[in-house]
Symmetry: C2
Subunit: 532 residues, 2 copies
């Protein structure tokens, strides 16, 4: 028989099979809120009744401006369960971008965390479609309006979920454009359910009923989108960090809640490890950390494994891929020692079932998957975007007629289906007619124990047209000379001419609204023209 | 974007991501054949070209009469990849049933293992639609016809797989009717892919890339249907036992190939454990065994865990559910000691994501999921049959208008979504107006260390209308008196009147064509009327 895939079916299953397993989050007051899946399902029914009473219909957009917490979790299910579309607004966008995306999405209602009320109040006059703003808080009032809990509490806790086409849209998210306006990506019920199933089915991460999972990220960030579906699907406990995403708060929650599997970007993990080193503790329950968004230093991977017995799992994803496209990299028979071959393999990620990948050259011809030839990475699959939201012109050139999406990443693929990102196309450095990968330089620099973060950009050069410049943040309290780092890089890179002539040390690397290094900023600061 | 789910996409993924991982099987000559997924994908393309050249088109039925082996694996993908329907014929059916199912399916071609050639030759005149019979063997000839390998070797090893609706039929199987004619069940591409993903996603069984998986069953049997899809999806090695399904052969293959996860019915596991005891060895690589089809004795579960460190995983499925409907039964906080509560929980299985379950009473009202109330089990989901193949009259009464299938099992469901089969409706014993579950009696008897197998049936009784009779096979070389067994059963059962008045000892319990105890036979032998 055919049943339409739907987001709400996941929470319904959790309520039936894992009624006592919890979603846990820390509120603004530091208080821990606990929401068993059975209660979540009933509250989501209340929310659905509330939305219907407010006139929200299938296809309408409802915005959320919130950290990772239990109410945001409920909104994921309640909004999409009635067939409306949940627009996850990224509050780290610029003021104007926040206005633009809400207007472009035509959000009818906004659900807003207490910490973002000022942001929204400050732009309220410019929001063209928003009829109502509801504050995500316990029962009470804010600004003369009942809060979220007060509002839903008046409604019945059962709901007859409508049956609709699984290809109906469920979520809308805008990617952070570093150089262009944010681009909207829609996700269907089918893509959300298949993405969650495929993540669990890949067997790469140790996630099952007994697991306790924590994304060290916000639910408006790509890192945290999958977990609200993966966890209830399999019965794992889900720990959400709330507004405090600093190292100390995250570490405390990992320990207090018994987290076994955590997801985060390398910079945050670096700070957590520094904190653990300082206070002299360890991880009581953590079994594995999954990392994405940027390359992780070898020292970090070693420290997790050797000092704490925590497995380090890599992954690759992007907003347009829901996010997971590839994860893990094991090949039976490959060396497990500390060789260069071992570390090279650790930078790769294997495509997951349900996603196809291929490489093309500038002429559009397919590049062989030999682990060496590079090309632009194209992806295809049920949870890959088919186009961007809005005007067709935004999607132009990004999607092929036969369903492939151009990622803008340059990569290799080896014969074990493992993909390694070489660079973003726009971050490549063309020196004297030869390409240099900024990522290769950054990886080489990160082998130096003093280097905490590194970012390579192209700067203009009268002779070579472009030369690489490396911007480095050192570990706190550690010193290093640029010549030491260059020496190490020369050993690691295969060609000497790739070594940057110049290294600049900074106290902090500028970040985009989604936590990546803002190379646009660095280019401005160090006198390079920005790339299109 | 939307891509149609298809069986061939699984093997394509394996060829891309796990080219060197193998399907291994033992041939008739005892020789081990090794088929890496990359080679399998090319041979399946040859097979697809062969089938097309023979005039097979989308929707046509092609029959297989074969054990679990690499060529049968290829047929699963090649037949379904071109949009034709793979009819897995159960050669353990009676001669007439084999004729009937092939004629009913209208199989155009039959692919037949060497061991079943005589069977098929003997009925060939009565097969109305079969144009050709191809023997599954290495290059050569048999009966003047080229064998499978000879036939496909002439064709190209690439194929442009057609894109078709994921709801198209992929497989046809007939259930073994113990009292009625076999009933056909169709499986779509969508149901096969979602079933495989859901099995892996459930996290109940330790299956991932590094795993080596062996179904101790034939690919015409429900136990072995999922593995040819689960293994290539995740990159596990797949070991297929070929024609020899005895304890010694299975054990040898487990050890020789490094099997980590194996699936089988309790009777076969019992024989394997006896063999290991006798020869004094152990399991070098086995981590977990999954068991279904019948209740497993506590002694077996204990022996696996305590003596061999092998996890024992239960599951529930049926032909109409592809087969997996429920698996695993852990609840955090439940006792892990040897208590009755612990063992009661071990008899339960939790519904997997994608399947819904409910219980109804005789009036069709829903029965509460309190772990105690019993009712007929109804299931619903993407890999549950919507009807039987053929005439509508066959499906009558088994399927509700809102998509539920009546399983014919009586069960309880507890508040953790765990279902326990109490009995088949037709195996219930009605004694003096009270129902006695045959399964409850069998479980009680299996607690006696001497009891290898037990089957309870109803026999006519002048006073009570029906009384239970227990048929027992003792462990080899062990003796026990019926009074000992009755005493133990009385301790275990909550009511004394449930204890059977009579125990019959047999050397062997009769089996159905799918390896279940044939209660129909027992009823005949012990003077009870068979049930409808």
């Amino acid at each position: 028989m055919v049943q339409q895939l739907s987001t709400i079916s996941i929470l319904k299953h959790a309520s039936f099979a894992f009624p006592d397993r919890e979603v846990v989050s820390r509120g603004y007051d530091g208080e821990i809120e606990r929401l068993p899946y059975s209660l979540a399902y009933r509250r989501v029914a209340q929310l659905a009744n509330t939305l219907q009473a407010m006139g929200i219909r299938a296809g309408d957009r409802v915005g959320t401006v919130a950290w990772s917490n239990t109410r945001h979790f409920e909104l994921f299910y309640g909004i999409t369960g009635i067939g409306a579309i949940c627009h996850k607004v990224n509050p780290r966008f610029s003021r104007q971008q926040v206005i633009d995306v809400i207007n472009q999405a035509e959000d009818r209602i906004l659900f807003v965390d207490p910490g973002f009320v000022d942001l929204i109040e400050g732009i309220r006059q410019e929001l063209q479609t928003v009829k109502r703003v509801i504050v995500l808080a316990k029962a009470g009032e804010q600004g003369g309006e009942p809060t979220y809990d007060a509002l839903i509490s008046g409604f019945d806790d059962t709901f007859k979920w409508p049956n609709f086409d699984e290809n109906a849209a469920a979520f809308l998210v805008f990617t952070s454009g570093t150089t262009s306006a944010p681009k909207g990506v829609m996700y269907s019920h089918r893509s959300v359910v298949l993405h969650a199933m495929a993540n669990l089915a890949s067997g790469v991460k140790p996630q099952r009923y007994e697991s306790c999972v924590m994304p060290l990220a916000s639910m408006f960030h790509v890192t945290a989108w999958g977990h609200p579906f993966l966890c209830p699907m399999v019965g794992s406990k889900l720990v959400l960090p709330g507004p405090k995403l600093d190292a100390v708060s995250c570490y405390e929650l990992i320990e207090a809640e018994g987290v076994t599997l955590a997801f985060g970007v390398p910079t945050l993990w670096a700070r957590i490890l520094e904190h653990v080193e300082e206070q002299g503790g360890g991880f009581s329950t953590l079994q594995a950390v999954a990392c994405g968004g940027a390359p992780a230093p070898r020292a970090m991977i070693r420290q997790f494994g050797e000092q704490f017995g925590v497995e380090f799992i890599s992954g690759w994803g992007m907003t347009e891929v829901s996010p997971t496209g590839a994860a893990g990299n094991k090949v039976i028979g490959e060396p497990k020692d500390d060789s260069e071959q071992y570390w090279a393999a650790r930078r790769k990620n294997r495509v997951v079932f349900g996603i196809e990948m291929k490489l093309i050259d500038e002429a559009g011809n397919t590049v062989p998957n030999n682990g060496e030839s590079t090309g632009e990475l194209l992806v295809r699959g049920n949870w890959v975007a088919a186009r961007y939201f809005g005007d067709d012109s935004i999607s132009e050139g990004r999607f092929t007629d036969d369903g492939w999406m151009r990622t803008g990443d340059v990569a290799t693929i080896d014969r074990h289906g493992r993909m390694e990102i070489v660079d973003r196309i726009k971050d490549l450095i063309k020196s004297g007619g030869e390409w240099i990968s900024s990522l290769e330089l950054e990886n080489a620099a990160l082998q130096h124990p003093a280097v905490a973060e590194a970012a390579a950009i192209a700067v203009p050069d009268p002779k070579w047209i472009e030369r690489p410049l490396l911007v480095v943040r050192l570990q706190d309290g550690v010193e290093a000379q640029d010549c030491e780092i260059k020496d190490l890089m020369e050993q690691s890179l295969d060609q000497k001419w790739k070594v940057p002539d110049r290294i600049e040390f900074v106290d902090e690397l500028p970040q985009t609204s989604t936590g990546k290094v803002a190379k646009t900023e660095l280019r401005k600061r160090f006198g390079a023209a920005d790339k299109p």
